[in-house]
């Protein structure tokens, strides 16, 4: 046993040393992009195919079809029975799933590294050979309606969020929920799903990401064999979406639901996203979210509302820069017992006004900088997470170079950059303020 162990270790360490930043990219002849992320610490591979299509690409009136189709991809193909895909993954000791967002739909398997070829064979098969039936559609539509019940209809906070997002986007499809509006989901047809599939599930609209105990040459050979033979879709449309018009007036919504226990106020401001070659504003917004409402102990909102005045049981801010089109910057606060929503909203506004006028503490800037730098080190422990990072970026208009530049761009943000985005983005004319309460009285 001891000798075996030594053998394993000597084999193990050189690979581990290579793991850092071992990212290889290439493009197949049919336009399919491939990203290989090496991590040889464990004999595991994550195999993902990301389509550059999400709910915001759906035709008008068919909201939810992107996500519905994602469910239907687990049904039959010319070569596999319904359910055989996941059953085969499980029979090989792996797990699989899929997810849909505004800008992408992705399928993944996590499995022993020597089963990669089988995953590619099956995933490439369902890129072109899907054979869904009317019966599949009838049953699966009930499943996604139950999913909506579980995620949204049964959850007052989720219902409220849906209303607020719909009001934030006056023209863009981000205003429509990913899972779909219920009345449109109920009408989704086999043809809706097939039309979406035929157009968008194409190699020139897809990104293959393979992460884990693999080597680029072996991935390239397999990718060419399985994905490389699928013809590109000549009619793939350019991703042009309706843009937001200039937003000129504050919107306010009060959402009443007796299932609400803790009332709260949220505000979403329209905000710039990470753009290829232009990620600086987004980087500054990451700092703004941290400084304004990251830690309850040290951020401006946390200090003022949870410590100094104790008027809130919670206060925070958030920003997600990955998005193809305009994203949002959010703040929220839940008032303490005896504090009204008007009072807490006024307190939040006072903190924001003060933030815009007061110099940023250099020590706080440096602390956030150090935490962002450290988060890059911790992130190396999760190769599947790094795979998701590439998938979200490459389906949302960024390049591999943008992904790799991002940590350094974050390191170079200055206090002046943060001030500038704060003034630009924290503008109520481009925002929705929402109150979530259990009764009209609570909204007084």
């Amino acid at each position: 046993m001891t000798r075996l162990l030594v053998a394993a270790l000597t084999f193990f360490l050189p690979f581990a040393a290579q793991a850092e930043e071992a990212v290889t990219t290439f493009t197949l002849d049919n336009g399919m992009d491939v990203v290989v992320i090496e991590d040889h610490r464990a004999p595991v591979v994550t195999h993902m195919v990301w389509y550059k299509t999400g709910s915001a690409d759906e035709p008008v009136g068919a909201s939810g079809v992107a996500h519905f189709l994602e469910h239907l991809l687990f049904k039959a193909t010319d070569n596999m029975e319904s359910g055989e895909f996941s059953a085969t993954v499980a029979a090989n000791g792996g797990s699989d799933n899929a997810f849909t967002s505004f800008d992408y739909t992705a399928y993944f398997q996590r499995i022993a590294a020597d089963r990669l070829e089988l995953m590619m064979q099956m995933e490439s098969d369902r890129m072109i050979n899907l054979r869904i039936t009317e019966e599949d559609v009838e049953t699966e539509r009930q499943v996604v309606l139950e999913e909506r019940n579980q995620r949204t209809e049964n959850n007052a906070g989720a219902l409220a969020r849906e209303q607020f997002v719909a009001a934030l986007y006056q023209n863009h499809r981000y205003g429509v929920p990913i899972i779909g509006w219920k009345h449109e989901m109920e009408q989704l047809s086999l043809q809706d799903a097939l039309d979406f599939y035929d157009l968008y599930y194409s190699p020139n609209n897809a990104i293959l990401i393979v992460a884990g105990d693999v080597y680029p040459d072996e991935v390239r050979a397999l990718a060419e064999q399985y994905y490389g033979v699928i013809p590109a879709e000549p009619n793939l449309p350019e991703r042009i979406r309706p843009e937001e018009p200039p937003q000129r007036a504050e919107r306010r919504i009060t959402f009443v639901d007796p299932r609400v226990s803790q009332p709260y106020v949220t505000r979403s401001y329209l905000a710039p996203e990470r753009d290829s070659g232009a990620q600086k504003e987004a980087a500054a917004l990451v700092y703004l979210a941290e400084l304004l409402g990251g830690s309850p102990f040290t951020s401006a909102l946390g200090k003022a509302l949870q410590f100094e005045t104790q008027t809130a049981v919670y206060a925070g801010a958030g920003y997600r820069g990955s998005s193809l089109d305009d994203t949002s910057f959010g703040i929220s606060a839940a008032p303490s017992e005896g504090v009204s929503l008007s009072e807490i909203e006024a307190a939040v506004d006072a903190v924001i006004a003060d933030f815009k006028e007061t110099p940023i503490d250099p020590a706080q800037m440096e602390s956030i900088r150090a935490q962002l730098r450290a988060s890059e080190i911790y992130a190396k422990d999760d190769v599947a997470g790094i795979a998701r990072r590439y998938g979200t970026a490459l389906t949302q208009g960024l390049t591999v170079a943008d992904v790799q530049a991002w940590p350094q761009i974050l390191q170079e943000v200055t206090a002046e950059d943060v001030k500038a985005v704060a003034v630009k983005v924290l503008n109520k004319d481009q925002a929705v303020t929402g109150w979530v309460v259990s009764s009209e009285e609570e909204a007084q």
Partner: protein
């Protein structure tokens, strides 16, 4: 002279490749046991500490004390108040997490190699010198009470609270470890110090360390970190029998989708039939899309987005539990199908093919879990908690393979009892009423 004792080294070779997890077991000079995996390729360390007891050590009338105390560990210690502590933690870019569970206190830390001494000193300060400032107590108490109030309007939490109370009554398992608004409101600073003294002890403590650290240094590091904690804690609660008979309880709540929590008595983790039960549960309801319940309730009938079952071998009681959610007009059918599948499994067991498929999945999936420092630390401390030896990582798949069809089918008939199943349904389910 390094006085740590290297008692053993165990290697998990995954089925298919060359990588290995080398678990070193050590005992520190001060007598603290730990499992260590040296993984120097990324410059950080993951540390996991578990202490048995947790919220089950709440004293009479003080329900919620351990939970509130745990929430306060990060709210000031030594000469630092809450904000000073957090500012220091952020400057080190470390993450500390303190959580109370029904039976366990959990402490997790991740810190960069370059900040190791400072991070460990700060972690020690939080564990051994908490301040429990009154202002912090008041602030965190308000957060806890807000959460308790929210639970009372959450269908899943409503179902869980009823189920636990009906199954375990006055035992700590019968009530929410967060406490009630009344009990939490009454907690004092002295209660916090008492809860801290009871819950953070070297007795019943389990430790794992993974990352850019050597087994040699872990011994002295742990003595410094944990050596000042009290050696012993109060006695643990007694075991308790599952006390809820079969039937249906409907709790009226105005919401479009009913949620159902169901279950009956289960099987102990160290029972010789546990692996058979584990495989049965996998085939019945834990195997995702491949489980019988997902096939019958979701795939064939479209009655739910998800249904799953769990073996829940707690330290003082055992359960088989499941959960499903379906619209108010279909939940009755979902429950009927579930009960029928429960009976079919109890009466007919599984097929040889189902057993093969489950074994292939379970044995293939196991090595995939060990794919990050954080995951490995978590798995190792969990194994210690339930008394598994390090060589379990090598032998575990043999235990799965050794289970026979005859064993499975015998255990299925002993473990699963459709008449004993109790369904707690929260919503406005059509065609369902509370049974007598």
């Amino acid at each position: 002279m390094v006085r740590f004792i290297l008692t053993a080294v165990f290697t998990l070779s995954a089925t298919v490749a060359t990588a290995a997890i080398d678990i070193k077991t050590i005992t520190s000079p001060g007598g603290i046991n730990a499992w260590v995996v040296e993984e120097p390729s990324i410059p950080f360390v993951a540390l996991e500490i578990r202490i048995r007891g947790g919220a089950s050590l709440d004293e009479p009338g003080k329900r919620g004390a351990t939970n509130l105390m745990t929430g306060l560990i990060e709210e000031g210690s030594g000469d630092m108040d809450a904000q000073a502590f957090q500012t220091k933690l952020e400057s080190l870019a470390a993450s500390f997490s303190y959580r109370a569970y029904d039976d366990t206190m959990s402490i997790s830390a991740q810190f960069l190699t370059e900040n190791k001494p400072e991070a460990l000193a700060l972690l020690k300060q939080s564990l051994t010198e908490p301040r429990f400032d009154q202002s912090a107590i008041d602030r965190v108490r308000a957060q806890v009470i807000s959460g308790i109030n929210s639970d009372e309007k959450n269908p899943n939490r409503i179902a869980g609270a009823f189920f636990d109370q009906a199954a375990f009554g006055d035992h700590p398992y019968g009530t929410n470890m967060d406490g009630t608004v009344e009990s939490v409101t009454a907690l004092t600073q002295e209660d916090m110090f008492t809860a801290h003294r009871n819950a953070l002890t070297r007795e019943r403590m389990f430790v794992s360390v993974v990352g850019d650290v050597t087994a040699e240094e872990v011994g002295s590091l742990l003595d410094e970190l944990l050596g000042d904690l009290p050696a012993e804690g109060p006695p643990l609660p007694d075991d308790i029998d599952f006390g809820l008979a079969g039937g249906v309880t409907v709790i009226d709540y105005e919401t479009p989708q009913s949620v159902a929590l169901f279950g009956h008595a289960g099987i102990e983790r160290d029972d010789e039939d546990f692996f058979a039960a584990f495989i049965i549960n996998q085939i019945l309801g834990a195997g995702g899309f491949e489980s019988r319940l997902m096939e019958e309730v979701r795939e064939k009938r479209g009655l739910t987005y998800g249904i799953s079952t769990f073996l829940v071998p707690k330290f003082h009681a055992e359960m088989v539990l499941g959960q499903v959610a379906s619209a108010n007009d279909t939940i009755a059918q979902a429950i009927e199908v579930t009960r029928n599948e429960w009976a079919r499994m109890a009466n007919e067991g599984v097929t040889a093919e189902e057993l093969d498929v489950a074994k292939t999945y379970l044995t293939g999936e196991y090595p995939l879990r060990f794919d990050g420092n954080g995951e490995i630390a978590d798995i190792m401390v969990g194994m210690q908690m339930i008394g598994l030896p390090p060589e379990y990582v090598v032998n575990r798949n043999d235990y799965v393979e050794a289970v026979t069809l005859e064993e499975i089918n015998r255990v299925a008939s002993e473990l699963l009892d459709p008449d004993a199943l109790h369904f707690v349904v929260v919503g406005q389910p059509e065609g369902l009423v509370t049974s007598d």
